[in-house]
Symmetry: C3
Subunit: 332 residues, 3 copies
């Protein structure tokens, strides 16, 4: 494995090998596996799980890491090509990225969507430009349109459920005070399709996932024997659901227009996952979320604090899943 | 030892064992004792000594650490229960804390007093709420009303003085441009009482320590054979004093009222520890302070730079004292 | 070696030993050389290369490091003597520095020029005041007037060029939106002179390096057999040049006067290193820069992305050069 930027680059057998390795490392720690190795972590956006779990995971494998946060102790980074740099950014990624890469054995990069141009974000243009500058094993810590570390950890969490095989998986839009990126919904719908699940995307009008994301998931389902559909009807979506994965994202009908997005979500306060969603037809449905979650906006306290919730297990699984990734990328 | 959040939870014999271990680690380093162990450090407030010494101490014992600073590279944390999270905080402690705990072998938390509701701060409600979410060994890096790491290091510093037994210990209020929390004075008056010292709290009117703090210290003195009293009279307090511990804190008569607090301290500029405090009746009195200290506001340059000062030794002792704590919490 | 704060303190033979050690560590890693050692890194100013490479270098030698950034998770530091501290800074360097030193085996400090008083900056008064408070091996991570880590890495980069001996070295002023400090030009002109090069400082009127810097470089050239001159004439400077080192700095004729500096640089947009600078008389001239560089302000894209550029190699060389420094300072 040369890099970990998209589950689709790996294919299911390699994902399963990674998860087997993750389970093995949980059972049989290898505290010297990455002795002397250094992981660089570049965060253009905030983080808690990724920031903590990569540092911890690297340490548990005997390696080290350093964190660079442009604008907080480090120079702001310019990403545009050909620009005359006379503004706030003192350093261009064309220098910053290769330089950081030259100090480490693998580099992780977090760069959220700019949220202005949907085509550019769907093509993951900014992450791609950065990745092209790195001649080391690369880890996607969440890009405009992907979050493979989350997808891998969630796959592991699903594997741990009883009857982990073909199951009804609902990705539901959830309320948030403002637009969030498409990275997690795109990664998760694709992951669930790769796993061969019956995937239903449940979202209000104006919040459909872009066709490119849906088609990519359908292609994965065609290989795995799963399916991918979408609906605005909560009751039909939840009927018989085994897993509801709640996630907030911006209005795709008004991508990049913060005001129109706010207007579009104004009446959507009922898209907060509550116990009564499950009462009738999905009594055993589990609830997933990638965190951070805004309580009582996206998911109600009673759900997060109740037995349906898998969110802490998902977060925990980031650690062994990513340790497997690091092990595969860096173990000589 | 399951956690280190309050010297009172330990009792004197266990404190003395910790200090013996601290001295042993100074003499006989154990650079592999915590190999493979990871300490998480969550700072909701600024730090220099705690931030540096815990990272260094963990490294000197062969372990690793990571630092999370909400609002600086990590999400702001919500602490209120039951709230609809539609404000600035993206993550609730109910997720953030257990998640961080799941990535490490022990977790340290710094959360200063909110400084609004005295009863809430005295009960250490915020720290208690966070501690309840952590299923790992926990270290109090300074809470609303406690700072056991400082107290332990100061105990060690006192032990290093000639005639370390029963001695006259004055905790004196000192000037600061604005109100500071009660954590250090509460921890220090209790520590000195536990050590069996003759403790005098010297402070202006309006700045008496709350009865709950004084009573807790008196209970400790009753066990140790020490005593605890308070006064506004500097001359009588300092007569024969062996140690003056200077500390700034807010007006308890106006707790949570910044304006009234400022007014209360307006004429208190003479509460800056100066050489003439000691001239008459306490010529050999040593001066302690937990740092950071505002020079020439709380303590004059001549005192800090002179032979009375123990402040650098106190700060240094944070390292071995905390290494002993980590060793006890994490060494298998 | 007791500290690494200025190449001039070392002399050429010791520099050459450091560079030999750097090359040896590149060939034969010593992943346990600094096991158990802790490096403290205090950054009063932003960094990317220094911040990442020191952490990585320490880890590759088996040691650990911690980073303190006053104002970002740590207290703001006061540097003035005798002041009444009733402003924003909560901690004085007279406590902060010795305390940090007591937690580590070596301390690195970055403190850029204040840029107000030229005499004070030339004397490196602030760094000197901090250095005097540290009783540990000390590394200058860039002070008001020096950047020995950059100079050492650049020396190594020059050594790697074909015919590394006596060569024509042009330090050229380059455009920047505002005044930058003199640390790098001062360190580089001195380094090139120490290496016995024919050094030409090329700069517009009003941007001459201060006499103290030029004299110091000439003294080094007198020992090494090199030479140091200065000019405003680009064509004569570049004729036959082997290396052009581009660097931005503030107007020395208007030191500390931001408005006059802006006015002085208003017509200097042509001081952006472009391919046509080399076409006539320096076809094989290589281009160096310490980074970060503002593309198309100081150096054009075509130059940075072309075969003349050494900037990534310079940045990479920070790692082995500094590992040699750490090895010499800390290996017992």
């Amino acid at each position: 494995m040369q890099r970990f930027v998209d589950l689709a680059e790996l294919g299911t057998p390699e994902v399963q090998e990674l998860l087997a390795l993750a389970r093995r490392l949980e059972q049989h720690p290898e505290p010297q596996a990455l002795a002397g190795k250094v992981l660089g972590l570049l965060f253009l956006n905030p983080s808690l799980r990724t920031l903590a779990s990569f540092q911890s995971g690297m340490a548990r494998l005997g390696g080290s890491s350093f964190v660079i946060t442009p604008g907080q102790g480090s120079w702001q980074l310019e990403t545009r090509e050909g620009v005359v740099m006379n503004g706030a950014a003192a350093e261009h990624i064309r220098e910053g990225l290769p330089v950081l890469a030259s100090y480490c054995d693998a580099l992780g990069i977090r760069a959220f969507a700019e949220g202005k141009d949907l085509a550019s974000d769907l093509a993951d243009r900014q992450f791609g430009a950065m990745a092209a500058l790195v001649d080391r094993p690369l880890v996607n810590l969440e890009s405009a349109i992907n979050h493979p570390c989350q997808a891998l950890a969630d796959w592991k969490t699903l594997d741990e459920l009883p009857g982990a095989g073909r199951r009804r998986f609902v990705l539901s839009w959830a309320m948030h005070p403002r637009a969030l990126p498409l990275a997690v919904p795109a990664a998760i719908v694709h992951m669930a399709a790769m796993r061969g699940m019956e995937v239903i995307v449940l979202r209000p009008d104006g919040f459909a996932l872009p066709p490119a994301i849906m088609e990519r998931a359908r292609a994965a389902a065609a290989v795995s024997g799963g399916s991918v559909s979408e609906t605005t009807d909560r009751e039909s979506a939840l009927a018989g659901a085994h897993v509801l994965y709640a996630k907030e994202w911006g209005s795709t009908a008004h991508y990049g227009d913060a005001e129109a997005d706010l207007e579009a979500r104004r009446e959507l306060g009922h898209w907060c996952v509550r116990p009564d969603w499950f009462a009738r037809s999905a009594p055993d449905c589990r609830v997933m979320h990638c965190l951070p979650v805004r309580r009582n906006s996206a998911i109600a306290d009673e759900v997060l604090d109740g037995p349906r919730s898998l969110v802490l297990r998902q977060a925990y699984n980031r650690l062994p899943a990513q340790m497997a990734v690091l092990h595969r990328l860096l173990k000589s």
